[in-house]
Amino acid sequence: MAYDKFTVLTSTAVPMPIENVDTDQIIPARFLKATKREGFGDNLFRDWRYNGDDTPKQDFVLNNPIYSGKILVGGKNFGSGSSREHAAWAIYDYGFRCVVSSFFADIFKGNALNIGILPVTVSPEFLDKIFKAIEADPKAELEVNLPEQTISIVATGEKESFDINGYKKHNMTNGFDDIDYLQSMKSDIQAFAEKSLY
């Protein structure tokens, strides 16, 4: 599925300074029963966001109107657990385009890139600065610049660069996905398959 191009994103951010935010929290398994990719944003962080009777939990950050924006800032080891791409869909469908953490679980990171969410890995120190900036001013903006591979705290100008491989960067900035690429090399794949043992 094609997604929006990503170049420079300047936005306020939602802070979630919790470590090991796993995919079962991002989208609990009981919401994986759909056969279409629709409505996952409504159940993003379902059990942290709502009480058992579907009333919002007032102390959860997504229910706090002072925080908003297209960037989610999480603690270390964000997205651990299941391979469910539904977790990335839920984040995207809710309206986030970028997740910042000091450490991402592998599969989540791959899934995010495949559907057009930019995972930005920063140093633990910079992550701390971001949390402090948002704590001081919930309207503090971050600028994520993919062509330059930098993330900065707009008010203070503090900046850090991040890694992404050239191929994925090209895809994200153009809104391309891997399926387009693979389709373009079908004859090579066919030839490879013919020599394969299995």
Binding site: M1, P17, E19, S83, E85, A105, N114, N165, D188, Y198
Partner: protein
């Protein structure tokens, strides 16, 4: 002729690279692809919207497991959303010519149980599935890992995915496991040492006497949990144990094809001087029966220990406190003797015949404790059949237990098998995340022996006390 020594992982990986992209991932060829009802429907929709076909339908296998009931499987599935997913899998499989082992099929079961037991999983293969515990198949010396739905669509349409090559780690454990210490305790121990993110970015090879002496079932349990360490997957070099397990399995090669495959499989090992990016060593005598007390699989310890104080764990203090609060536990408390309400034996971690044998060895001649609700769920119909044939069912029934029908069940609680809020479950599955086994459920991960000991005593109990 000189050649650079390489690892088992390099051998399998490098032989599956169709193209290397500069400053990008490898185009990686997939030999076997498993699909199930939950993570495949959107991939098929994607194919349709792009007008693509399945390139090699014979390399994909479908089974229904995540969402299926574990009682009354002969009746129509009650939950309309689950029924809809099962129907979608069946329709998509039929439409594209993919083998489908649906509910009621004698080969049906959990994807990571049925692949190996039918000889679909073979050494040297690359195997993917939209489920993170695909790492299980690494027990055969395959590179196996979980993928997302976009990648399921890639494999269906091109038999390839785009993957950067992970770094390599070897975990070596020598020595002999002690009494009451079974394969599940080994990865739980490793997790307690390196944390739930300790192997992120790596692919693990498990080496040393402990793994060499393990059965295939045990190796599958170990590789299954490699993903919980953050690793992409884990593998064990194939050996006589592997070949004996595979010989004669339904879809394993036969006759001349077997001989040819066997000759290749024997080359699949790490060369003597091969380099890993990271090597870890442990000794078997460090490992006692393990149990988790927190909300990620890295928060576990030896069963006789107390719950650590925040300073001793690698997770941040705030996360650790949140975790203990969810569990209703406190620092320095003893784990033995803790209240248990539910016992779950099953999942692709511990739903194989050996796990039922282990469980039965403890409950034999004892009775289920009155306060315990026990869900014993075989990983497949073949396992279920074996349980009956070996007389294990009689032992279980005698002790007051019932056997359910195969499926993922309470491992992820997508069906009706949900642990109620606030209740404690000793589970042989793989994840103790908040709400994993049902909203508010509190999970203690452990081996089938620890599960059995809890099931007959009603509290957390050291299984060694019940072994003659």
């Amino acid at each position: 002729m000189s050649h650079t020594p390489t690892t088992l992982f390099d051998k399998v990986w490098d032989s599956h690279v169709v193209r290397k992209i500069e400053d990008g991932p490898d185009v990686f060829f997939i030999d076997r692809h498993f699909i199930h009802e939950v993570t495949s429907p959107v991939a098929f929709l994607g194919l349709e919207s792009r007008g693509l076909k399945v390139m090699f339908p014979e390399k994909t296998f479908a089974t229904a497991d995540h969402n299926t009931p574990t009682i009354n499987q002969h009746l129509p599935v009650q939950d309309p959303l689950s029924a809809n997913q099962l129907k979608a899998l069946e329709t998509n499989a039929a439409k594209y010519g993919i083998s489908h082992w649906g509910l009621g099929n004698p080969k049906n079961g959990i994807v990571h149980v049925v692949g190996p037991e039918n000889g679909i999983t073979l050494p040297g293969m690359t195997i993917v599935c939209g489920d993170s515990h695909t790492s299980t198949h690494g027990a055969f010396g395959a590179i196996a890992f979980g993928i997302g739905t976009s990648e399921v669509e890639m494999v269906l349409s091109s038999q390839c995915i785009m993957q950067p090559k992970p770094k390599k780690m070897r975990i070596t454990i020598n020595g002999k496991l002690g009494k009451g210490v079974v394969p599940k305790d080994v990865p739980l121990f490793i997790l307690s040492q390196i944390s739930a993110s300790g192997a992120t970015g790596y692919f693990i090879e498990f080496a040393g006497e402990v793994f060499e002496n393990m059965s295939m079932e045990g190796r599958m349990t170990v590789c299954n949990l490699s993903i919980e360490m953050g690793a992409r997957g884990g593998m064990v070099a194939p050996d006589e144990t592997t070949f004996n397990y595979l010989n004669g399995r339904d879809l394993a090669p036969k006759g001349e094809a077997w001989d040819k495959a066997l000759a290749y499989w024997k080359t699949l090992k790490t060369d003597a001087d091969a380099k890993f990016d990271l090597e870890l060593n442990f000794s078997a005598d460090q490992i006692e029966p393990q149990i988790t007390y927190g909300t990620n699989p890295g928060l576990g310890t030896g069963i006789t220990h107390t719950i650590p104080v925040a300073a001793e764990v690698k997770d941040g203090e705030a996360s650790y406190k949140k975790s203990l609060a969810y569990m209703g536990f406190a620092e320095n408390e003893k784990i033995i003797g803790k209240q248990v309400d539910y016992v779950f034996l099953g999942s692709c971690t511990n739903g194989r015949i050996e796990d039922f044998r282990a469980f039965a060895s403890i409950v034999k001649g004892r009775k289920k404790a009155d306060n315990i609700t026990a869900w014993l769920v075989p990983g497949s119909h073949i396992v279920e059949q074996q349980i009956k044939e070996e007389g294990i069912l009689d032992v279980l029934t005698e002790a007051g237990f019932q056997l359910r029908q195969p499926g993922c069940s309470a491992c992820l609680a997508m069906n009706d098998d949900k642990i109620p809020a606030g209740k404690y479950a000793v589970s042989t599955s793989n994840r103790n995340f908040e709400g994993r086994q049902g909203p508010g459920a509190r999970t203690l991960l452990a081996s089938p022996l620890v599960a059995a000991a809890a099931a007959v005593t009603g509290v957390v109990t050291d299984p060694r006390e019940l072994i003659a």
